[in-house]
Symmetry: C2
Subunit: 107 residues, 2 copies
């Protein structure tokens, strides 16, 4: 396998929902890329038994994690412990790109 990737080579847009792709699926973690166009939303959801975090690569979004709601931009780390509901909306006029990791990843 190739151990080196660049997220910019994997970004994209999806008209109906938001764009998502897997960058790496390890035995204990999945690393992916989510791209939300303006006004797109990842609805509130939770991963039972899996921790998740987002790292904001570009753009800005309005995140909800548990009972906290916050705008977060490039450089922000947003963490959602196992079982805690989380979601995000792109409230700006440019793409919101997120590195996401889920541990353990979906089987």
């Amino acid at each position: 396998m190739n151990h080196f990737l660049d997220w910019r080579g994997h970004a994209g847009a999806a008209a109906e929902k938001f764009f998502k792709t897997t960058l790496w699926q390890g035995e204990h973690v999945m690393v992916g890329l989510n791209c939300l166009e303006p006004n797109q939303t990842q609805s509130l959801h939770a991963h039972e038994g899996a921790d998740k975090f987002y790292f904001v690569l570009e753009g800005e979004g309005k995140f909800t994690v548990g009972d906290q709601e916050r705008h977060a931009a490039a450089g922000a780390l947003v963490v959602a412990p196992a079982g805690v509901a989380h979601g995000v909306t792109n409230t700006r006029d440019e793409r919101l790109s997120l590195l996401v990791a889920i541990a353990p990843g979906p089987k």
Copy 2:
């Protein structure tokens, strides 16, 4: 807990070795920040039973993962599956900052 962090508020330097700090320790993953000053090295090592990845935040380093050696700069994702040796050296004249995730994290 606070679900929102910014890595730039946690960066630092350590004279003897490289700087490392934990940003979040979940049940299934640890997210940390490593900062290497010019010429500092994280020696080759492996995590048995845990996947790891680096995401390059700023600067550039020479990474080794298994039998692959590559220079990688901001925006690069470097993945080290469980048991595969990995390390990095800052070969440039500016700080190398890395988001790191280890799943499962050290107990």
